[in-house]
């Protein structure tokens, strides 16, 4: 019966005793949970269990197939790496929340119907907000609230979509959804918010860099990749996703070049990487879907690694601003080395993990005849190397010497980074085990002379451009700044618009009251002119004329009667 236990619940229920366990035992306990989780996944047979019927809808608590298992495995691996990285952490709220968060994400991946998905989706959202607040600064608090509102919007859209779909089809099964019904559009928007589609993206860059050193590592792995999973399940082959994905790969890299907060640079590059996956899902061929989900798998590891290395820098120096860092390789050589491995992986250098996964998406785009998307993805690939592969390590560890001489990262952080780096190289050198667990059979060879040489040309010439720009002084220096993005609309315009309406409304109200009072005043004057002491109708009339008028009236009545 142990296998009949929905995979995510292990961590959610496992989080309950966390606040009560003291000292190292707590870290050991937490680290054991994802190992147990992986062991549980290996015992599961394809199929579904935990099936109940509510209100005539069949709910499936756990659906085991290749796609859900792939994400289940990588989520547990990311959980293990994150917990190891946070070994030193004593924030029990953050620790318990991170387990609930990961558990909810895993639960959502295995959800076989949309109602169960919605439940876990929301639980993950709420837990994520608490992780953002783990930064325990005013900025984190505010960013968490902004994020909460956007997540709530995603939840409302999802529920609306599920409702419409349930009425139309009489089923809440989580299979291919598509855009044929309005319900599908609502659900796509809900997924799109969590996947950081263009213009729906800004919560990611706003909130993630505000979380704690360890919180951001957790956050980077789950919410957005859960959305990628949901898109792969529900919208494979939906053509509009190609263009959305392509836009996502291209525009964040401009921001990544000029952003100063290095964890925010990573958030922009995360957004760019999601674009590759979304485009792959949109193309929808078996090669493209394999590419998209395997890229999600590789991405979770190298992105965690990059966030861990920047987290270690923040932990040791107290800052993560490019303008205040530099020269750290002198005292943090291991962290620098691991960061470079993460950078090489995200840039898709041959022998690193990104190469064996991303190249599938690019090949699929080219072979399916999407020439413009292919070129944009190529441009974005060069750009990734530029800002993640070079800029991150360069400005943190090299560049001008900041004079900072922090100690090397603590042993647990180095161990977590080392393990992640090992996996990045492992997948890159020997991709077969990853290829074996992909949803579709893999008929693809990443290491051909054409792939290797063209990739190296693209990347190293991009590196040459960086070096040339640096040496000629054309490269924009790291400056302490805020860069306006779409959040400008709700952090600057919207509050002012509301303020203006409130103020303007006040003005209009005054105007309206004035006009009304004016009208009342003129009416009073008018009435006064007739009925006032000197008015026509209030003069004293002689009694005789009164009698005369009475006689006239009586006379008229008489004439009228006869």
């Amino acid at each position: 019966m142990t296998t009949e236990f929905a995979p995510g619940l292990l961590l959610i229920i496992g989080a309950i005793p966390v606040p009560f366990i003291r000292g190292k035992a707590r870290s050991i306990y937490m680290l054991a949970l994802p190992i147990l989780g992986i062991l549980q996944l290996t015992t599961l047979d394809p199929g579904a269990f935990g099936i109940v019927s509510t209100l005539g809808f069949e709910q499936i608590h756990a659906r085991i197939d290749k796609l859900s298992l792939l994400f289940g495995y990588i989520f547990y691996i990311a959980a293990f790496l994150g917990i190891l990285f946070a070994w030193h952490n004593n924030d029990r709220l953050e620790q318990a929340t991170s387990l609930v968060y990961i558990g909810a994400a895993i639960g959502a991946v295995f959800a076989g119907d949309l109602i169960t998905l919605f439940f876990y989706w929301e639980l993950a959202a709420i837990a994520a907000i608490f992780l953002i607040w783990s930064g325990r600064t005013k900025r984190a608090y505010r960013a968490g609230f902004r994020c909460l509102i956007i997540y709530m919007l995603s939840g409302v859209l999802l529920l609306t979509g599920i409702g419409i779909k349930a009425i139309e089809t009489g089923s809440v099964a989580f299979e291919h959804i598509g855009l044929d019904s309005p319900g599908g559009i609502f659900i796509l928007l809900a997924f799109g918010i969590k996947c950081a589609f263009p213009l729906l993206h800004n919560w990611l860059q706003d909130a993630y860099p505000e979380a704690s050193v360890t919180g951001t590592v957790f956050l980077s792995a789950f919410t957005t990749k859960l959305a990628v999973y949901a898109l792969a399940r529900g919208y494979a082959g939906t053509e509009i996703l190609i263009w959305i994905g392509v836009a996502m790969t291209a525009f964040p890299i401009f921001y990544a070049v000029i952003e100063n907060d290095l964890r925010r640079v990573l958030a922009y590059s995360l957004n760019n990487q999601l674009g590759f996956m979304v485009a792959g899902i949109g193309i929808g061929t078996t090669l493209a879907i394999n590419g998209a989900v395997s890229h999600a798998f590789a991405h979770i590891i190298y992105k965690s690694l990059l966030f861990m290395s920047m987290g270690a820098v923040l932990y040791r120096t107290g800052t993560i601003k490019g303008s205040e860092l530099g020269g750290l390789y002198k005292t943090m050589p291991w962290t620098a080395g691991f960061c470079i491995i993460g950078g090489a992986s995200i840039s898709a250098f041959p022998l690193f993990s990104g190469f064996v996964t991303k190249s599938m998406i690019l090949t699929a785009a080219a072979e399916s005849g999407y020439i413009i998307p292919f070129l944009v993805l190529l441009f974005a690939s060069a750009g990734v190397f530029h800002h993640s592969g070079i800029k991150i390590p360069f400005f943190a560890f090299f560049a001008h010497d900041s004079g900072k001489r922090p100690r090397e990262a603590p042993a647990n952080m180095l161990l977590a980074m080392g393990l992640a780096a090992f996996l990045c190289i492992g997948i890159g050198v020997y991709p077969d085990p990853l290829y074996a667990i992909l949803p579709f059979p893999v008929d693809y060879t990443p290491y051909t002379p054409t792939h290797v040489v063209t990739t190296l040309q693209l990347l190293l010439f991009s590196g040459l451009a960086f070096a040339t720009l640096q040496r000629s002084g054309l490269y924009p220096p790291e400056l302490r700044s805020t860069v306006l993005d779409f959040d400008f609309s709700y952090r600057w315009i919207a509050p002012r618009l509301v303020g203006w309406i409130m103020n303007g409304g006040g003005l209009v109200w005054t105007q309206l009251t004035n006009i009304f009072l004016q009208m009342v005043r003129s009416l009073t004057t008018l009435v006064f002119s007739y009925f006032g002491p000197s008015g026509l109708l209030s003069r004293t009339w002689p009694t005789g004329s009164m009698v005369l008028w009475a006689a006239v009236l009586l006379g008229l009545t008489l004439v009228l009667y006869y």
């Binding site: 070049v257 390789y329 750009g383 054409t450 040489v453 190293l460 040459l464 070096a467 924009p476 805020t482």
Partner: protein, 94 residues
């Protein structure tokens, strides 16, 4: 352990320890090595048969030139964007 680290740093600063990259000549060496590798990669196009989908991918050195000019444009455009998008660090804080 903190003291140990501090002592080590102080010692290094006193002795004026130079790291390999502190010498600008070594930075130049890396740059020239990069140019050498890029040239070799550019010429490598002549040495093997490319298997690609589109004709333009077959142009000699296409990927190298695309990577170079693409990145160059990326940085220069981003640099210009700063003029419109960059604000003070505490822009949203009040």
């Amino acid at each position: 352990m903190d003291d140990k680290h501090g002592d080590k740093i102080a010692e290094e600063q006193e002795s004026g320890k130079q790291y390999w990259l502190d010498d600008m000549r070594n930075v130049h060496k890396i740059f020239w090595a990069l140019i050498f590798v890029c040239t070799a990669l550019f010429l490598a196009d002549a040495l093997y048969e490319k298997h690609v989908v589109y004709e333009f991918e077959n142009w000699f050195g296409f990927f190298g030139l695309f990577g170079f000019f693409g990145s160059f444009a990326l940085v220069l455009i981003a640099r210009e964007l700063r003029k419109f998008l960059m604000r003070k660090e505490d822009y949203y804080d009040h």
